[in-house]
């Protein structure tokens, strides 16, 4: 039996997981319209590579990754791209984002699928394929998986010792990972072996909370069937035990240092659904075009559905048959999820759960009272922060102090808000303070860059002036050097004032010009024909006449 460790705090909210595990995962029907956002992952949004009117096949690339932290986006089914524009998406701001609208042709015809054996491919190629298959963390953070699998060049001595599969699923109501483990354990385990070989990890631990006995049994069986030395570890149910840092702590006793990554301590952690989709991507050549999502809450038929990315959420909610008193919807769990601005927004890679909410299930919190510093929040904080102090700083917009008290170690799990007897929206304050600080840092960087550019411009103008002056001086010097006879006229006169010098210079310049003019012979004056000579004579005569006229014109008024 493995020794398990504890992390500080945690809460035990009612699980509400049973209703949605009563039926197996079923495929959601093909919707009439799919809306595929180009930003479904952490990092840079994908760049559209299709045009309106294009016919695409299922799994065809429609958005390619841009930059290092980015991932690909694919057509979830075959059909025609009708619009590429800004559409409402699931985001707390309710702001729209760039999406492609796809009208399915109903054939669900696959693009070229290249099934391959990961053992025959180098790790670099596998990583590239995962990136191009749009594999991102499906636990909710949607961080591109290929980056988490890259070789640890920065830590030449530290290879990944432990690969952890996160099947804890600690949030209430959500059961998509649970059902996935029950039904597709073999794929997950094979995927884990693939990732293990990529990372060259020594051991693989599969952490599952003890409220999922069926999933634990299924994973045990799959590990035994595969003949792999993986360990399925049952961990106690406590929220947020499924947080990567918390699960790593429970399983290994290691703490991921603040501001560092798990790889810095030789551990890497993947959600089970991510591992499964990575396996599908390599072994079956299927990019991430669908995911399992829990539809639960105030519905008659809660359950899990395998739905295409881009499916409007209203269609998924309809599958669950919401009760008439449903008044709002939550994407994700009740602890960390977000309210949906509308149900027309599409399913994205991050959507693990859709909860139909009603007042009876999620009553509005009572009005917030002042903090009485009861320290319940500190007692449950898994990051061992002092939320009441952070709240004080965030509330008074004292961002420097908030940062000094490790605001950015907050994982926004919501445990503090959950236990607060004053019902203060603590996490909300922390989100506010964090985004404010991030924005200020950006502004600061922008200001610094502007200052630098401005200073450089000043420097450049100054330099150009100087160079011009130097060039002139050099020219003059060269001119003086070339004509050593003339300067004595200036040099001999000892009481020459600057004006006279300047005048002399001008005079010299004029004479120089005259000399030059005299030196230059008019061109095309030789070998002229008689007509040309006559023409020239005529022109000269005209010029002379005009000169005469000009003289007579000018002179009369002078009288």
């Amino acid at each position: 039996m493995r020794t398990l460790y504890k992390f500080h705090g945690g809460v035990h909210p009612p699980g509400n997981k049973t209703p949605s595990t009563q039926q197996p995962i079923s495929a959601a029907p093909l919707p009439a319209k799919l809306i595929v956002p180009f930003r479904q992952h952490a990092g840079e949004a994908a760049k559209p590579v299709v045009q309106v009117g294009d016919h695409v096949l299922k799994g065809q690339l429609i958005g390619e990754p841009v930059g290092f932290v980015s991932s690909a986006v694919h057509a979830p089914t075959s059909g025609t791209i009708t619009v590429i524009d800004m559409q409402p998406v699931a985001h707390p701001s309710g702001l729209p984002d760039l999406c492609a609208t796809l009208i399915p042709d109903g054939k669900d015809e696959w693009f070229l699928r290249e099934a391959s054996d990961y053992r025959t491919l180098p790790a670099e190629e596998l990583r590239h394929r995962l990136r191009m298959a749009g594999i991102v963390g499906l636990g909710g953070a949607v961080f591109p998986s290929d980056i988490k699998l890259r070789p640890l060049r920065n830590h030449p001595n530290k290879e990944i010792g432990t690969l952890i599969l996160n099947g804890a699923e600690c949030e209430p109501w959500i059961t998509c990972d649970d059902m996935l483990m029950r039904e597709r354990a073999a794929g997950i385990v094979q995927g884990a072996e693939m990732l293990r070989s990529m990372l060259e990890a020594k051991e693989v631990l599969i952490g599952i909370e003890d409220n999922k006995p069926e999933a634990i049994a299924a994973m045990h069986r799959a590990v035994a069937d595969g003949g792999l030395p993986f360990e399925v570890v049952t961990v106690p149910t406590v929220y947020p035990g499924g947080g990567a840092k918390q699960l790593i702590r429970v399983l290994t006793g290691l703490e991921v240092p603040s501001g560092k990554l798990p790889t810095d301590i030789g551990v890497q952690c993947f959600n089970v659904a991510t591992v499964y989709s990575a396996w599908r991507a390599i072994a079956h050549g299927e990019p991430l075009v669908s995911r399992v999502v829990t539809v639960t809450g105030n519905v008659r038929r809660p359950g899990n559905y395998e739905a295409l990315i881009g499916t409007p959420l209203s269609e998924l909610i309809a599958l669950g048959e919401p009760l008439p008193d449903t008044d709002s919807h939550i994407m994700g769990g009740p602890m960390m999820g977000m309210p949906l601005p509308s149900t027309s927004v599409p399913l994205v890679k991050a959507s693990n759960c859709i909860i139909a909410a009603a007042k009876k299930l999620f009553p509005a919190p009572p009005p917030a009272l002042p903090c009485i510093r009861c320290t319940r929040c500190a007692q449950v904080c898994p990051a061992e922060l002092q939320p009441m102090d952070l709240f004080w700083f965030a509330q008074s917009k004292n961002f420097g102090q908030a940062q000094a008290f490790s605001l950015f170690d907050c994982i926004e799990c919501g445990a503090c808000s959950y236990v607060c007897p004053s019902h203060i929206p603590l996490v909300q304050y922390f989100r506010f303070a964090k985004s404010e600080i991030r924005m200020r840092e950006q502004d600061k960087l922008a200001a610094d860059r502007a200052r630098e550019r401005h200073e450089y411009r000043e420097f450049r103008i100054e330099r150009e002036k100087r160079e011009k002056a130097e060039r002139l001086a050099a020219k003059e010097k060269a001119a003086q050097a070339a004509k050593p006879v003339e300067p004595p006229a200036v040099a001999i006169n000892p009481d020459a004032t600057p004006e006279t010098t300047a005048q002399m210079k001008i005079q010299a310049a004029i004479e120089h010009a005259k000399e030059q003019a005299a030196a230059i012979k008019p061109k095309n004056t030789e070998n002229l024909s008689a007509e040309q000579l006559a023409e020239i004579a005529e022109i000269e005569a005209r010029r002379a006449r005009m000169r005469e006229m000009a003289k007579s014109d000018v002179e009369p008024p002078k009288e």
Partner: protein, 345 residues
């Protein structure tokens, strides 16, 4: 919708419930108080409650804050109860009214109301009363069976509200100094501890009757710990420090320094350990800080009792340690997850 963000669920606990359960935990102590000293204390508590609610409502109105939710949070009531339990029940009615009003108006609302007061309001009230009205603050009731005359409840009420005693009864006949006060006076007369303890007002551990009330508060306090309303840190550190200092002095000179148990069960030690020092608003938030804060209060309580000018020191010890809270908290910040030395197991 706009103000509705995760988490969407929360524990049903409220500030009002916490305060209510603290008041509930006071009940055993109050019951024993009534049993040993008569029902006059209930009058004080009632007066304090009414004053607390009235001044709280007035202050909220003046400060342009919603009245109903704050009145319902029970915090003003609790302050009133704690003050009522720390002053003599047979004091004139205006004493408790003035004290409670001062607690709520000055110590609480002038500092920003619930959650913002740096000093324990009840202890501020007590300090103001004992400094301003030292004489009525010594009119402690004699426990049942010890006084020459026992007033009926009606006669007590007449005294509290009108200040008239039944003919032929002097104030001295119905009141007495507290066991701590008596001890102090007699020690000044160079009487040995043993001889003082032979006086009828002393019981098994400390004062007759008052020791039993302390047991009541101890029971209530243990309930608070069991119900996770307070943590063990403050009571343990406070009683521990008080016991340790008292024990040292007692061991050194048993003739002049009483047993640590006497200190535990007299005065406001138990009330302070479980109900006053544990006030979250005015106490430290870190566990280490709580230990330092309470241990400091225990030490100060003993020093004031043994060497200071007042018979009991809990109130002043609390206030003095309240001053130190921000500093204590600053220097006892716990290490954040991932910021401990290394990441070892």
């Amino acid at each position: 919708m706009a103000a509705f963000f995760s988490p969407f669920i929360s524990k049903p606990d409220t500030v009002a419930q916490i305060m209510f359960r603290v008041m509930l935990a006071l009940l055993p102590g109050i019951a024993l108080y009534v049993w040993y000293f008569g029902p006059a204390i209930l009058v004080s508590i009632a007066l304090a409650s009414i004053t607390a609610l009235a001044t709280e409502a007035a202050m909220l109105k003046l400060r342009d804050r919603p009245v109903a939710p704050f009145l319902k949070d029970n915090s003003a009531l609790l302050t009133g109860w704690l003050l009522a339990l720390s002053i003599p029940p047979l004091a004139p009615w205006w004493l408790i009214v003035v004290g409670t009003a001062f607690c709520i108006v000055v110590a609480k609302h002038l500092y920003g109301g619930l959650g913002n007061n740096p000093f324990n309001p009840a202890m501020i009230g007590f300090a103001v009363l004992i400094v301003s009205f030292p004489v009525p603050m010594t009119h402690w009731l004699t426990p049942h069976g010890l006084g020459q005359i026992e007033l009926s409840f009606l006669e007590q009420l007449r005294y509290i509200f009108i200040g008239s005693l039944p003919p032929g009864v002097t104030l001295d006949a119905i009141t007495m100094a507290t066991p701590l006060d008596t001890l102090k006076t007699h020690l000044h007369l160079d009487e040995p501890v043993k001889q003082i303890f032979d006086m009828p007002i002393y019981g098994r551990l400390a004062g007759q009757g008052s020791e039993m009330v302390s047991w009541g508060f101890l029971a209530g306090g243990l309930y608070l710990i069991a119900a996770r309303i307070i943590s063990w840190h403050i009571p343990v550190a406070y009683l521990g420090a008080l016991f340790a200092t008292a024990g040292l002095f007692h061991l050194a000179d048993p003739a002049h320094y009483v047993t640590p148990l006497f200190h535990w069960f007299s005065g406001a030690a138990m009330l302070g350990a479980f109900f006053i020092l544990t006030d979250p608003v005015t106490g430290p938030t870190t566990n280490k800080g709580k230990l330092i804060f309470a241990a400091g209060a225990g030490l100060l309580t003993y020093l004031i009792r043994a060497f200071g000018g007042f018979p009991d020191g809990t109130a002043f010890a609390t206030l003095l340690m309240n001053i130190c809270v921000p500093l204590i908290v600053l220097y006892t910040q716990p290490k954040v997850f991932g910021k401990k030395s290394g990441g070892e197991r």
